[in-house]
Symmetry: C2
Subunit: 178 residues, 2 copies
C-alpha cells in the first residue's frame, strides 16, 4: 500500500493543484510518498492510498510493446511529475469486463495513446476503489521538463476519449522534484 | 470489507475444515461473518478479510444468463455453506488480461460450470490479494442439504480445470447454519 500525503513538507513541490471534474481536494504545498507504512506517518493535509495490482485490460501483445520501450520511475532527468486521482461513475463499474475493455481500448485507445509517449512519460497506476478511498485510481507520471509539452498532449488526448465520459471526478496535481 | 472469523462462537457451525492444496488454517468450531467492522470485533482463532469488487472476467452475455437465474444468499432452505479461500501462483498473476480470461473461460469454462448449478448453489466472491491477505479470493457458497451432491460435483469440476493448475493454496471449509 502506498500513501500519497499532501503536506507542508515532502520530496515533491506542488506547482499546481486543480479540479478537472467534480470536487477538488485542499491545496498542499508539498507531496510526500510513503511506500512503506511507518509507525510515524507524515501528518498531512490529505492522504490518498492505493495499491499496485495485476493488469486489468492490457492484452499480451500490448504488454509486450509496453515492456519493450517503457522506462522506470526515478530517472534523474525526470524532475516533473503529476498525480492524477480519478473516480469513474457507477455506469462504468456496472459494465461487464468485455464492455469495459472495448471502451478502454478499441474505442478509446488508452494503451495505444500511452504507448505513443513511451519512454518519455513513465507511469505507475495505483488502485483504490475497493478500499473505501474517495477515488478509484491514482496515476503517477514522471517526465523531464523537455517532455512537458508531450505530457500535456497525453492528458488532453485521454480526456477526449469515450472512456473519459465515465470519469465523474478528477484532480490534476503537478509537481517538481525538491 | 467483510471479515470471516473462525472462532468458538458464530452463526455457522464448522462441519469440516481441510486443506486441498498447500498449508491449511487452524480448525475453529464456528464461523462468524462480520460485514460491518465494529469497535468490538469477534475475537477469533483466525480472520480472513475480503471485499466485493467489479466483475473481472465475465462478459455481457454470460452475466445476462447468470442474472436471469441466480438467487441471493440467505435463503431459509440454504442451511449448508462452504467458504473456500484460494491463492493463485505468480504465473497466473503475471499473465495479461486476455490470457487469464482465455484460461478462465474458453479453456476452463468457469462461468459455464457455475451457471449449470444455478439457482441451487448461491455464490459470493470476495477479493483479498491486494490487501496483504494470505489468500487471493474467498468464495462463499450457500445451498440446501438436498443440493449437497450437486455442490460436490461443482467443486470437483472446477478443481479439474486448467485454471486450477494455477491454484497454489486452497482450503475447504464446510458449514451448517446454527
Amino acid at each position: 500500500m502506498t500513501t500519497f500525503v499532501g503536506a507542508d513538507i515532502g520530496n515533491w513541490h506542488v506547482k499546481e493543484l486543480k479540479p478537472v471534474r467534480g470536487e477538488s481536494i485542499p491545496f498542499a504545498s508539498h507531496l510526500q510518498i510513503e511506500d512503506h507504512p511507518t509507525s510515524t506517518p507524515t501528518t498531512g493535509i490529505w492522504k490518498l492510498r492505493g495499491f499496485v495490482s495485476n493488469i486489468r485490460y492490457t492484452n499480451h501483445s500490448e504488454r509486450k510493446k509496453i515492456l519493450a520501450v517503457q522506462e522506470g520511475l526515478g530517472r534523474p532527468q525526470a524532475t516533473c511529475a503529476a498525480l492524477i486521482p480519478i473516480r469513474k461513475n457507477e455506469a462504468w463499474w456496472n459494465l461487464a469486463q468485455d464492455e469495459r475493455r472495448a471502451i478502454f481500448e478499441e474505442q478509446s485507445h488508452h494503451t495505444a495513446i500511452g504507448l505513443h509517449y513511451l519512454p518519455a512519460i513513465s507511469r505507475k497506476l495505483y488502485h483504490c476503489r475497493d478500499i473505501g478511498e474517495p477515488f478509484d485510481f491514482l496515476t503517477w507520471f514522471e517526465y523531464a521538463p523537455t517532455d512537458a509539452a508531450a505530457f500535456e498532449e497525453l492528458v488532453t488526448a485521454l480526456r477526449q476519449t469515450e472512456e473519459w465520459k465515465y470519469v465523474e471526478r478528477e484532480v490534476d496535481i503537478r509537481l517538481i522534484k525538491v
